[in-house]
């Protein structure tokens, strides 16, 4: 078990190589092989037709942040400034207020994330002691002005659309992809089953709008759209 030094030699030029033609035919055969393979198996193409199709990301993807809520619809955040301190880009701004519910003590009156500063490192999620900030798989973050890139509490609070069908879904969060620990401090290698099919990771989500409904369909329920 060791590393060995191997001296490579420049290959000798053969007559066939020196006349270009043979090597060119060999190269063309290789590219033609790829062409035929792709032609007969269009679905297996590695190209993703963005923006019609969207790449499927893992549940650890670090995209736009969300603030989690308790069961009673209040924010889990207790304005402890941990994420603000842990942030290497200094993009989080918090102002604390006293919560009317005594048990919650503190809550953020202002919680802003400047997405133009954010480097999406996930340190805020790691730092949160209350499981209050998660990330989503939403990465299409473009803005027309700087002001709209600063998200406040209303924009950051988790919405049903974040996890609904066709939404981005949860991204980087505590324990994503790891089995829950039996006992605190005791680690286990992740025992997750294989993804339904390894192939699936390459399959893109088709998000072309569905064909418009036929004109005489006034009775279609408006709630069908998620």
């Amino acid at each position: 078990m060791a590393a060995r030094v191997v001296t490579l030699k420049v290959p000798e030029t053969t007559w066939a190589e020196s006349i270009y033609l043979v090597e060119i035919v060999k190269g063309l055969a290789r590219t033609l092989g790829h062409f035929l393979k792709n032609l007969t198996n269009m679905k297996g193409l590695p190209t993703i037709q963005y923006p019609e199709m969207l790449r499927k990301y893992s549940g650890r993807f670090r995209g736009r942040h969300i603030l989690k809520k308790r069961e009673d619809d209040t924010l889990k955040c207790v304005a402890c400034y941990m994420c603000e301190t842990a942030c290497p880009a200094e993009c989080i701004h918090i102002e604390a207020g006293e919560h009317p519910v005594l048990a919650y003590e503190k809550y953020p009156t202002v919680f802003e994330i400047d997405l133009l500063r954010c480097v999406y490192c996930g340190y805020c999620v790691d730092a949160c002691p209350k499981d209050a900030i998660w990330m989503t798989r939403d990465y299409e973050l473009s803005f027309f002005d700087r002001k709209s890139a600063v998200l406040g509490i209303p924009e950051l609070t988790e919405k049903p659309s974040d996890t609904s069908q066709g939404g981005p879904g949860y991204g980087y969060r505590p324990y994503e992809g790891e089995s829950p620990m039996k006992k605190a401090g005791q680690f286990e290698p992740s025992g997750l089953p294989l993804l339904p099919a390894l192939l699936e990771r390459g399959v893109a989500i088709n998000r072309m709008p569905p064909p418009p409904p036929k004109p005489p369909a006034p009775s279609a329920s408006p709630a069908a759209k998620g």
Partner: protein, 578 residues
């Protein structure tokens, strides 16, 4: 050190050196994980350097780095002596003895000045310019001492501790650093008219923000000067204002073609300083993802370079495995490029459950694509005509210019830190270090292709014996405790709070720690003052000496060959300019 005492290990030449210089050189005790240190003064630096290079028992033939430091804010025992303030740390390496050395010179507060070492190791040229630019150390006799990473309108020396980082300096057109050869207008009488060509910084073939000014006689380059600094992001100054763990996202952006290797190198430096060893599974995963990153880096280098010389098809073949590796990195870390996956004492998270079969699938696909590229390129006569005999760097030149990595190995020096000073899992696996003696572009191409294959071999071997267990250390003074403990236990919550608010408390000390990056030796010189913030962090970017030598390599060649050479040296602006 008295003559009766045995010299420290690795410094057997010390008694001779002491005799020659009359006690002006002393060895200094340091951390066991650190490289041996010699302390000398500015007056005898030049003589010491010559001895260290020429004496067969020392034979430090490779100049690796110059890490300057401003010690004025160091507390307690570390504080400099009265009147002293600056420090120049020369990092040297001996390819014959496989040993590193730090040569330390303490410098006064007023007019810090040392003689230049460019005549001993030509590689010192740009490193000294950088130290002058950012720390204000004057190098007497330097052939071209001007600013390197900052622009001509910049006032002050940014890495000094009393420099106010909020200042802004406007760069006007007059302040643009004019290269000497662009300013020189008179032609030698026996020469035809020459042209000055400004190549970059936004030329697509420079793959980044590099600038080269060439003086052309027709198509032939008579003189050239390269310039960097267009992507300078104050990495080292920023690190001083961030905790040790907050530096990880910054290291992602050093060599952005292989971010995981930077994470590994930085984590290793801080872990050695702390004396913490991550669990074996974490080291195995670091090695696997690091090797995948190396494959990615070489693929990008070759693909982009082949596009430059007109072979577009290879680009599609070589970029496909890169996409797959990015997907794997994303599933592990949560981001495709800016991984931030390393942590001091382990990794951010364990790898996903399908990691091993996924890796094997990628290895299979990567081998196919490498074979595609090889079929199209390796024995293609057009490529041979472009690559063979162009951009030649001899063994002696490569050592003198401070080359490391694939470019040094293509010139015939079998120096690879993975082989010579194994770390992580490299001691446990079987692999070849490809070496060629030609030193031309074709040699660099072949070495890179072979290295990719060897990287895949390394990954396969580690996958076979990937250990289970945790990926994070259980020393909660350096790594955040698991969330469940934080939610439920007071003690863990206290550790958590202390780590986030104060950072990892690294004991006072100094270290130079190097790993094999994709382009060569990636070194981190760290000085700790015992707080949660690095006191000084200096990166040894592998590209830096490569680009410094570029102007000499292309001299006498064609412009189109210069593009091919630039691509195969693989200059990454992110780590070049930091």
């Amino acid at each position: 050190m008295s003559a009766t005492m045995a010299p420290p290990k690795g410094l057997e030449f010390l008694p001779v050196l002491e005799k020659n210089l009359g006690g002006r050189v002393t060895a200094r005790e340091g951390l066991a994980a650190d490289v041996p240190t010699l302390v000398t003064d500015a007056a005898s630096l030049h003589e010491t350097a010559r001895f260290l290079r020429d004496d067969p028992a020392a034979a430090y033939d490779l100049f690796l780095d110059l890490a300057s430091a401003d010690l004025s804010r160091l507390p307690g025992a570390q504080a400099p002596k009265t009147g002293e303030r600056f420090q120049a740390n020369y990092i040297l390496y001996s390819t014959k003895r496989n040993a590193h050395l730090r040569l330390k010179v303490n410098l006064p507060e007023k007019e810090p000045s040392v003689p230049t070492l460019t005549d001993v190791w030509p590689a010192a040229n740009w490193f000294e310019r950088e130290a002058w630019d950012l720390m204000g150390i004057d190098f007497k006799g330097h052939p071209n001492q001007k600013r390197l990473l900052t622009h001509g309108g910049f006032v002050g020396h940014a890495l000094r501790k009393d420099y106010d980082a909020k200042q802004r300096w406007l760069c006007t057109e007059e302040d643009l650093l004019q290269t000497e050869l662009a300013a020189q207008t008179d032609e030698p009488s026996d020469m035809f008219e020459t042209t000055t060509l400004n190549f970059g910084p936004s030329q697509p073939a420079t793959h980044g923000t590099l600038r080269i000014v060439m003086r052309l006689d027709g198509e032939t380059i008579v003189a050239a000067e390269s310039e960097c600094g267009y992507l300078h992001r104050c990495f080292e100054k920023m690190s001083e204002a961030h905790t040790y763990s907050q530096v990880f996202p910054y290291t992602d952006r050093l060599n952005y073609c292989s971010p995981m290797l930077n994470n590994n190198g930085y984590a290793r430096a801080i872990e050695s300083l702390l004396g913490v060893t991550p669990p074996p599974r974490a080291l195995a995963v670091r090695t696997i993802l690091g090797e995948f990153s190396r494959v990615m880096d070489h693929l990008v280098c070759l693909a982009a370079n082949l596009v430059d010389i007109g072979g577009l098809t290879n680009f599609w073949y070589a970029y496909q495995p890169r996409e797959e590796i990015y997907s794997l990195l994303e599933a592990c870390s949560g981001a495709r490029l800016t991984v931030s996956y390393g942590r001091i004492g382990g990794l951010a998270k364990d790898v996903p459950g399908n990691f091993v079969p996924w890796c094997r699938e990628i290895i299979k696909g990567t081998r196919e694509r490498i074979s595609d590229v090889e079929t199209l390129v390796t024995r293609n006569k057009i490529v041979w005509n472009r690559f063979r005999g162009t951009g030649v760097v001899t063994k002696e030149q490569a050592l003198a210019w401070g080359f490391t990595g694939p470019c040094l190995r293509a010139s015939g020096v079998p120096f690879d830190l993975r082989k010579d000073q194994p770390y992580e899992w490299y001691g446990e696996v079987d692999f070849d270090v490809p070496v060629m003696t030609e030193g031309d572009n074709y040699a660099r191409y072949l070495v890179r292709v072979e290295e990719m294959k060897q990287s895949l071999r390394i990954i396969e071997q580690i996958l076979d014996k990937l250990p289970g267990g945790p990926v994070r250390s259980d020393d909660y003074r350096v790594i955040l405790p698991p969330k469940e403990m934080v939610y439920n236990e007071m003690e863990a919550l206290i550790y958590h709070f202390k780590l986030v608010f104060e950072g990892v408390k690294v004991p006072p000390g100094e270290i130079y720690s190097a790993t094999e990056g994709a382009n060569g030796e990636l070194g981190f010189s760290v000085i700790s003052d015992g707080s949660g913030f690095p006191y000084r962090l200096k990166v040894r970017p592998p590209c830096f000496p490569l680009f410094a030598a570029f102007e000499k390599i292309i001299k006498g060649g064609m412009v189109s060959d210069a593009v091919a050479t630039l691509g195969l040296l693989n200059i990454i602006a992110g780590e070049l300019d930091r």
